[in-house]
Symmetry: C2
Subunit: 193 residues, 2 copies
């Protein structure tokens, strides 16, 4: 086994194990000892791959989760042709995707607290949040939504959906998803010109 292959394999295993543990028990409750034990390596390997230690490892896991959510939202929204329908489909996709344990715990709960809000937000902009801002910009430019600055609107909607996702993940009742979507779509519909 070549060195590059070995390197990739170890890094991937470290990521997979820590993601699972972080998702189930949270960042603070998981020790590096448990991570490296389940990954079959030692702390030396961990610090070789993630220079910043535990924080850096979490950062990489969060990036992975956000990337997945972003892709899911993008593909689901992309299936719609009408820009307005794209927005609604994207919101629905985000809410359903965020019910997953890993997303909830890593992306919504621990993410801001561990990395700080500004870095979390910067990473969020690279994921699903950017799709929301893009969709809103398109709608404003097309005259579908009343002209207004997109940035604060996107933040408000992003925060609303993040909180709703945390709520939905807890309740587990599928009827709640419909209730949230109804309320959300009512709010969105109000923005139409």
């Amino acid at each position: 086994m070549g060195r590059v292959e070995q390197r990739e394999r170890t890094r991937a295993e470290l990521l997979a194990v820590s993601r699972r543990l972080f998702a189930t028990r949270g960042y603070a409750a998981v020790g590096l000892a448990e991570i490296v034990r389940e990954a079959g390596v030692t702390k030396g390997a961990l610090y070789h791959h993630f220079e910043g230690g535990k924080t850096d490892l979490f950062r990489a896991v969060l990036a992975q989760v956000q990337d997945e959510v972003g892709r899911t939202v993008a593909t689901t929204a992309g299936a719609e042709t009408d820009p307005w329908d794209r927005l609604l489909a994207g919101c629905r996709a985000f809410l359903t995707a965020s019910t997953d344990h890993a997303v909830r715990r890593i992306m919504l709960l621990d993410g801001p607290a561990v990395l700080g809000w500004s870095e979390w937000r910067a990473m969020d902009e690279g994921g699903s949040a950017r799709h929301l801002a893009d969709a809103l910009t398109t709608l404003v430019e097309a005259g579908v939504v009343v002209p207004q600055p997109v940035a604060p609107l996107a933040r408000l909607l992003s925060g609303a959906m993040n909180e709703a996702a945390l709520w939905l993940a807890e309740s587990g009742d599928p009827a709640d998803l419909d209730a949230v979507l109804t309320a959300l779509f009512r709010m969105l519909a109000a923005m139409r010109a």
Copy 2:
């Protein structure tokens, strides 16, 4: 000095010190040693007052902060007579109050991650979130707002304002507060019957 007085004084000092430290550097970055040193006591005193240790101490601090924010929102909103104006005034009061460092860091960032979302939410319901739900309920029952379940709507708005508060605390630009309020009020106005 009597025992009850001494007890109150020590507890208050512990709360004040930890609140300041938690607010400036965050829950994880503050050690118990530093807290008890600045409070002029020892760890024995801390665990005597807060059985649950560091978590319990944080819980008490969070309760204090939330109570303050709740009172501010309630009094500001209470100055308005019209129910709709009360809602708007309450939202504005919450956003301005949440720009404070302690509120931002303790209530919005560390709160959910340290205590878990469900407990954080339960405490939030005792603070400003309840006023929001109450105001919405009143408006729905009065027919000012289109009939709909209040719970999901309150969650969406609460999440939107929490995220907006984090954004505003970071930017510091007072123009951003107006931008957020404009967007928020536009969303709220859309809910009117």
